[in-house]
């Protein structure tokens, strides 16, 4: 923590200039350098997202309108699921820093306990992200575009997207221009016959999301969603793997025999970085 900023070192081990300017081990310094380069990669992705969003002329989807579902519940819960994922990741960051603190006291039991909770939190986060991706890809029923360019949301009782017009309860709802996810003001659910007429005259039907089109907005929106959250999710996954390896080593007593738990600190730096990136993804992808 404090390093040896105040300690006088023997001249034999100092740098040519007679000082030890960083007072930090090789491993930790290299981890920091890696994190800086990784941070530049993520910044590049988020800036590219900002560039596309800023330059586009089309309406861009709004986070609280796209992400408002909870598993197993119907109804609208804007951003609650993302907030839950954020809370899980922040708390697994806290357990990680507590593991580092326990390591500084050579408390093997404490390290194992907190590392185990960190792994658990990370696994929960990856699982949550899998659900969110699945929900994003399947979408909320899709919309049709008519010849005059107006959009209508497709509803039916069984959430059938293969043959929605023949499913029970089929009807259309007019969408607000520029905000496809919000029903137009003053419009009601169209009745079955009017819906069927518009359905048969549709120009296209977009449901869910893939790399070429999606029901939320411009194609780049889904592309950036998949790339940014996917790249971050891959970091979380590899972080969980690293944490599991470090946890096993801690259980075997490798670090205790070594006399210090610096490996926990290095794995911790990576894990906190993953949390740090999520803080920015959360703001710039979901909130703004």
């Amino acid at each position: 923590m404090a390093g040896d900023a105040t300690k006088t070192l023997s001249n034999d081990v100092l740098w040519g200039g007679g000082r030890s300017p960083f007072s930090i081990s090789y491993g930790k310094m290299m981890m920091w350098f890696f994190l800086v380069s990784d941070a530049l990669t993520f910044s590049g992705l988020l800036v590219a997202y900002g560039f596309v969003r800023h330059s586009t002329l089309e309406a861009w989807p709004i986070g609280e309108e796209v992400f408002r579902a909870l598993p197993g519940l119907s109804g609208s819960y804007p951003l609650i699921y993302v907030a839950l994922m954020t809370a899980i990741l922040i708390f697994s960051s806290v357990t990680m820093v507590l593991a580092v603190e326990a390591g500084h006291r050579m408390d093997k039991k404490g390290v194992i306990k907190w590392m185990f909770l960190t792994v658990l939190g990370g696994a929960f986060f990856v699982g949550s992200q899998a659900w969110e991706w699945s929900h994003f890809i399947h979408g909320g029923g899709g919309y049709i575009t008519t010849a005059d360019g107006s959009k209508y949301w497709v509803h039916n009782d069984t959430h059938d997207t293969h043959d929605p017009a023949n499913a029970p309860g089929f009807h259309l709802v007019a969408a607000q221009p520029g905000h496809y996810l919000i029903p137009a003001e003053g419009t009601h659910h169209l009745d079955h016959d009017a819906s069927l007429k518009l359905w048969n005259e549709r120009v296209n039907y977009v449901d869910g999301a893939n790399m070429t089109r999606n029901e939320y907005g411009p194609p780049q929106y889904a592309n950036f969603f998949f790339f940014i959250t996917g790249f971050h999710g891959f970091h979380v996954f590899s972080g969980v793997v690293i944490n599991i390896i470090v946890l096993i080593m801690a259980i075997q007593g490798v670090f205790h025999r070594r006399g210090h738990y610096e490996m926990i600190e290095k794995a911790g730096l990576y894990w906190h970085f993953v949390d740090l990136v999520w803080v920015f993804v959360f703001t710039f992808f979901y909130l703004l």
Partner: protein
């Protein structure tokens, strides 16, 4: 081969039970702060239209500011960069800040121009 000229810096990070209690207290304080800031962000994100109608620009900058506050606490406390020497802090943060400020500036300039030129073509 054992080398005897390598300093084991991590041993200096060891601390006593009493210091540990202080450090853990700080960790939980920062945790509470991060949780509160995230809760505020989510609530404002979900309900800003009802609470602050028409103030999107202010809300947006508030989000950016709160994000930087969270990032500072994560980097300085959780990643212990605040406890490292000034030199290591500088070589991590300054080059990064330099590149990102430049990238942000150029991306905003360019995207403004692209937006403007596309809208004139219509």
């Amino acid at each position: 081969m054992e080398r005897d000229d390598i300093i084991e810096y991590s041993l200096d990070a060891h601390h006593s039970e009493e210091d540990g209690r202080k450090i853990r207290r700080k960790i939980w304080m920062v945790t509470a702060l991060l949780a509160v800031v995230t809760a505020i962000e989510v609530l404002v994100g979900a309900y800003w239209k009802e609470w602050f109608p028409g103030a999107w620009t202010a809300v947006k900058w508030a989000f950016v500011f709160l994000t930087l506050v969270k990032a500072t606490y994560i980097v300085m406390t959780f990643m212990h960069l605040g406890d490292e020497r000034r030199n290591i802090r500088a070589i991590i943060l300054l080059p990064y800040a330099l590149f990102i400020l430049y990238l942000l500036w150029i991306a905003l300039m360019e995207s403004n121009f692209v937006h403007w030129s596309w809208s004139t073509m219509q």
